[in-house]
Amino acid sequence: MKLARTGNEAFAEAMRQINPDVVAAYPITPATEIVQIFSQFVADGIVKTEFVLVESEHSAMSACIGASAAGVRAMTGTSSQGAALMWEMLYIAAGLRLPIVMALVNRALSAPINIHCDHSDSIGARDSGWIQLFSENVQEAYDNLIQAVRIAEHPSVKLPAMATTDGFILSHCLETLEMLSDEDVQKFIGEAPERPNLIKSLKEKKPITIGALDLQDYYFEHRRQAAEGMFNAKKVIPEIGKEFGKTFGREYGFFEEYKMDDAEAVAIIMGSTVGTAKDVVDVMRGEGKKVGLLKLRVYRPFPANELAAALKGKKAVGIMDRADGMSAFTGPVYPDICAALYDLPDGRPILQDYIYGLGGRDVTKEDIRYIFEEILKTAKTGQKDYTLKYVGVRE
């Protein structure tokens, strides 16, 4: 069914169709609508969900952890400061191996306070053990959230997962959404695979302790097992992406390659800027310029080997970072890409980083063209004359 939906509406609809047992959430711009729309579903009695209207995002994630530890499907939605307030609990959700699913609307972190898009919130949580799926458009956001349930709950993964949209750019803009039927979504996600949990242990009269003190003699093994879950997610994510494609016609992998085959200059982008950049690639291709684009969908787990294979032999690659890691080096995605390519025996491209669009700064076609021209120049000369440039900022 083709509908016009905003990113927030699409997330809320996906949540309704997933029909989780528990949702615990707290409003925050620009993710508030997800909670609002879902509240109406609850008020109308069309979901089975127990909706816990908590007093903070920290409690939202804590309640999701409790619900998931009790053995049910738990979801939440948030953004920016809300995700930052959850930070402590994000690690705990992953460490306790709880497949909680979150709709995250990307928004800049304070200060200065700002309500518009950049990726510093989710990227700030990159080491927390959450699977992170970025979305180019509303359709992908919807599809990603549904797949996130399957990925997180997969018995070999058992880690929480977030699907993201760019704040306002996707969360508040109407786009065409090919919405699945409720039955199809339910069929695709199925019954959650059984995990050890509080309620089960109560029923079976074999009580379990979750969240015990884990000292020098066990902590490392448990963290290692969690890490293995993330390694396993690398296998599971493309499998589920393929199954989704086979069932619904839209296949997903770690990333999408756009006009990459003979490209000499490639840009790597996450989120909604990909859409604009595809237009720029088309125009520049028309001018005979060999530019291509790699849209990174899965940021955690990081598909290092797959990226290395896709980028091998490219002359120059520009990484567009919509967050600034404040490392006095580059944005956060650059070092990941750099590390992924380091072990290539040959055909290692020259890398340059571009930090752009912080706090919702508009990203124009001219900005993207400038970046492509810069990468093309590097590809042509074979010389890297800088590592990082800030694009679209007055300085």
Binding site: D21, V22, A24, K48, T49, E50, V52, L53, V54, E55, S56, H58, S59, A60, S62, A63, C64, I65, G66, A67, S68, A69, A70, G71, V72, A74, E88, M89, I92, L96, L198, I199, S201, L202, K203, P207, I208, T209, I210, G211, A212, L213, D214, L215, Y218
Partner: protein, 306 residues
């Protein structure tokens, strides 16, 4: 109310083998609270002495499903467990009538956990919150909390040449909980088992959020002889520095009236954290604390009469 004989025959739900200090009040409270409940129970625990000492992996003293996630959030995480249970109940996936009990120390309850406590109480989740109140951050080495008695020496409110211990009276958390209009609020001590057991039985009979603040002697932080835990708890009630009462649907009722109200020095002299208050130079401070205890006691009596 269950008799001692009946309690003795019940299966232990908080069992021995934990690493709490000898003479610790928290273990006694946990055991009594758990014994007082007959229905199936799921426990949530805030980070603190009770949590770290009772669940050192791969061991657990909890003979019931138990969950801990962090320090400030046991009310929120147990809200999630309870919501999951309600959802399953609604879906017909569970028949059992389950009781939810949260345990938190005074740090995790009065201070860092106050927000999530308030949130869960306001939302009215069906759970009993038990604060084992040892009046300081004992797990991290006796730092002051907002539950610490005025004048007490702690590692962050030390007695020095200029300052005689903690400068503030403790927060009146029971009143804050009463102001949430929850059905049941009480104070208790482990030293009067029937008081605590009775209150737990009552609390879990309500369909909503209930709260019991239990004074928990800490032989390491107060410190006191480990053999007098029960006695020192009773003395707190007998000096009225820790009166025992309950508030049922907003109505106050005294559950213990000392035959003779003892001076607070009787309680202070058994604990090294108050030793300096018994010196002549601190007489005015001692009098100020006694006066505050008297005033609070009179106010409580009025509330109970009204």
């Amino acid at each position: 109310m269950a008799t001692l004989k009946q309690l003795a025959k019940r299966e232990e739900r908080f069992v021995s083998g934990h690493r709490l200090c000898p003479g610790c009040g928290a273990g006694l409270i946990a055991r009594m609270v758990m014994l007082a409940i007959e229905k199936p129970v799921i426990v949530g625990n805030a980070t603190g002495c009770l949590e770290v000492a009772s669940t050192i992996f791969p061991y657990s003293s909890w003979n019931v499903p138990w969950v801990h996630s962090a320090f400030e959030n046991v009310s929120a995480s147990l809200s999630g467990v309870e919501a999951a249970y309600r959802s399953l109940k609604k879906q017909g996936k569970i028949d059992e009538d389950v009781v939810f009990v949260a345990f938190g120390g005074d740090g995790g309850t009065y201070d860092i956990g106050l927000q999530s406590l308030s949130g869960a109480a306001e939302r009215g989740h069906k759970m009993l919150y038990v604060c084992y109140n040892n009046q300081a951050y004992m797990n991290t080495g006796v730092q002051r909390s907002s539950a610490t008695s005025k004048g007490a020496h702690t590692s962050t409110s030390p007695v020095g040449k200029a300052i005689p211990g903690k400068g503030q009276f403790p927060k009146d958390l029971a009143s804050i909980m009463v102001a949430h209009n929850i059905p049941y609020v009480a104070t208790s001590i482990p030293g009067r088992w029937n008081d605590l057991v009775n209150k737990v039985e009552k609390a879990v009979s309500f369909n909503g959020f209930t709260f019991i603040d239990v004074l928990s002697p800490c032989r390491l932080g107060w410190p006191h002889e480990p053999s007098i835990t029960m006695e020192i708890a009773r003395l707190a009630a007998e000096t009225c520095i820790w009166p025992l009462y309950e508030v049922v649907e907003g109505k106050y009722r005294l559950t213990f009236r000392p035959k003779e109200k003892k001076p607070i020095t009787e309680w202070f002299k058994l604990q090294r954290r108050f030793a300096h208050l018994l010196k002549p130079e601190n007489q005015p401070l001692l009098e100020e604390i006694q006066k505050e205890v008297d005033t609070k006691w009179e106010a409580l009596l009025k509330k109970c009469e009204g």
